[in-house]
């Protein structure tokens, strides 16, 4: 199915690059309370790295393990792993997590999905007419809370036209809905919505007024054309699209000695096409 699998470079893997770029951008969340869901090793590593560098005051709740502020140096492959509790500062109850969403007080959060459209809406329900789904999705889980998060970040392991579609078949996680100000017909004013989208080959952000997805940077080794040909909606293209800043030696050293000593991020199979 995939034409390219996690090429990375001999210096770093694509997952490591994603983590480092996510961590840099978490500076804007310092002091806020955030959450990650399932299949979240990449954002877990990013938050951990950000706390060691640009955002020491992040508070975060780690998925099904319910660990508060884990300090692992051997990145668990899943947020459900009880090893997240080793070196954590506490444990949250599921209701604590829900209540943050009910009151719309999440400062930041990460989630993925099986489909995303140009307004950052995410689908986990399925593909095709509901009475006759072509693909039954796993269910919406906590993507619902995308509506109540101040800065939400979306990430994907795979970049292709089946993931990035003109319009999602169903909305599980509401992004900017139909664009413009439509999100705030429902969302609380403080819930600003999708900030960045991280994929194996690029970073997207959203236009300040139309709230349509825009190409923010292209990862080293890929071109704007790679992004366009693997994205099923029309991205806003700035005149000059920068390259995502490659990881520095210092960033890689920190990541590999303080966050992911086992090299979990080198094993992930991210794909393009």
């Amino acid at each position: 199915m995939a034409s390219i699998t996690d090429p990375g470079t001999d210096k770093y893997s694509m997952a490591e690059l994603m983590v480092i770029e996510m961590a840099r951008n978490l500076a804007e969340c310092d002091g806020k309370v955030g959450v990650v869901g399932a299949a979240a090793a990449i954002p877990m590593a990013a938050i951990r790295l950000a706390k060691l560098t640009v955002a020491p005051n992040l508070w975060w709740l780690c998925g099904d393990s319910s660990a508060i502020n884990p300090t692992f140096d051997r990145l668990p492959e899943t947020s459900a792993h009880p090893r997240n509790m080793v070196g954590a500062e506490g444990k949250s109850a599921m209701m604590d997590v829900l209540e943050m969403g009910l009151r719309a007080e999440w400062g930041f959060g990460f989630h993925g999905g099986m489909q995303m459209d140009k307004y950052g809406n995410v689908n986990m329900i399925g593909i095709g007419p509901y009475e006759n789904l072509k693909v039954r999705g796993p269910g919406s889980v906590g993507t619902t809370w995308e509506i109540s998060i101040e800065n939400s970040y979306i990430f994907f392991w795979h970049h292709n036209r089946r993931v990035f579609v003109e319009k999602v078949d169903y909305i599980s996680g509401p992004g900017f809905l139909d664009g413009g100000d439509s999100r705030w017909r429902v969302a609380k004013p403080q819930a600003k919505g999708p900030t960045y989208v991280y994929t194996p080959i690029c970073v997207m952000d959203f236009h300040e007024v139309s709230h349509a997805a825009r190409l923010y940077s292209v990862n080293p080794g890929y071109t704007v054309d790679d992004v366009i040909s693997n994205t099923g909606f029309e991205l806003i293209l700035p005149k000059n699209v920068p390259m995502t800043t490659p990881p520095t030696d210092e960033e890689l050293e920190l990541l590999r000695t303080r966050v992911d000593r086992d090299g979990v991020l080198k094993k992930f199979r991210l794909t393009l096409g």
Partner: protein, 312 residues
């Protein structure tokens, strides 16, 4: 007026009626029979840890069928196995999958072929529905922002939009989710049902309260004296529990928090077999073939089981 006849109550004596406290320990096959008499089950544990798998296999061997399943926020093989064996009628959905390992094969097939009834839910629907049942509330209302922009209320006939009688604003309601039985796997429990979930995230007491019957399986069965050494570590007090079953490795192939990790190779083998419609092969080898839990563990192998304990 001073009473001059003898009181109706009986004077206290340590011998009457009996100082013996009732123990709640039963066998796994007895638990299976109890679950098989039920139609709806609250299942604790998540997609990779603390799923009550031995109880589920015992219930399947005892003939459990036509089930309605209520999960935690995320579930995996616990539900998928029951679906693969054709034992599920209705499923309340938040997430069924194997996380990084991929989709749940039987769930996906059943969802696409419509062989089970799926109630399209999510985290707030399942958690707050359980909460409502636990608290004996008629329903829980959530603010409009929670559901106003998703498609979930359009697909889920149990979520209603009503007017908040206090503010006049639109709110959405979630109904109580009650079950006949709740099954929970824990790491330690005593003979009176006082249990410690070393993982979990407090959904377990809500699930217990939302069910008529509560069965706990435990890695370690200890004396109540052990519980009394650290009573603050009891996460599920015995008064909420009806029966306790001693089942070492009772969460396998999922992990058991701080005891052993999940058996990734086994989960992948399951996904592979069911994905190729060879569920009968898996079921006969691991569910209906072994006469009890210990034969199941022998199938898995001692070395492999103990290796799962190394990683924590």
């Amino acid at each position: 007026m001073k009473g001059n006849i003898q009181g109706a109550s009986r004077p206290l004596s340590p011998k009457t009626p009996s100082p013996e406290r009732k123990r709640k320990v039963i066998s796994l096959s007895e638990a299976g029979e109890m679950i098989a008499k039920c139609r709806s089950i609250h299942v604790a544990g998540d997609q990779l840890f603390d799923a009550p798998m031995a109880l589920i296999r015992a219930a399947m061997r005892a003939g459990a069928k036509g089930l309605t399943l209520i999960p935690t926020v995320a579930t995996g093989i616990a539900f998928d196995l029951l679906i693969a064996a054709g034992r599920v009628d209705t499923l309340y959905l938040s997430y069924v999958g194997f996380e990084g390992l991929g989709l749940a094969p039987a769930f996906r097939k059943a969802g696409e072929k419509k062989t089970i009834h799926i109630v399209e839910g999510d985290e707030p629907f399942v958690v707050l529905g359980t909460r409502a049942a636990a608290s004996g509330l008629p329903f829980i209302a959530v603010p409009r922002h929670v559901y106003g922009a998703t498609d979930i209320p359009k697909l889920n006939p149990y979520i209603h939009r009503i007017k908040d009688p206090y503010t006049g604003e639109e709110v959405y309601t979630i109904p109580p989710l009650r079950a006949d039985v709740c099954i929970i796997h824990v790491q330690q429990a005593d003979e009176y049902g006082n249990a410690q979930c070393w993982g979990g995230n407090r959904q377990e007491p809500d699930k217990a309260k939302a069910s008529d019957l509560v069965i706990v399986s435990t890695e370690e069965l200890v004396s109540v004296d052990e519980t009394k050494k650290a009573p603050d570590k009891t996460t599920l007090p015995g008064y909420m529990v009806d029966a306790v079953v001693h089942v070492p490795f009772g969460a396998h192939p999922t992990g058991s928090s701080h005891c052993y990790t999940y058996d990734e190779a086994h989960l992948r083998m399951y996904q592979d077999l069911v994905g190729k419609s060879k569920e009968e092969e898996y079921l006969s080898k691991f569910v209906f073939g072994p006469k009890d839990h210990y034969e199941y563990l022998e199938q898995i192998g001692v070395e492999r089981l103990f290796n799962l304990r190394k990683v924590l």
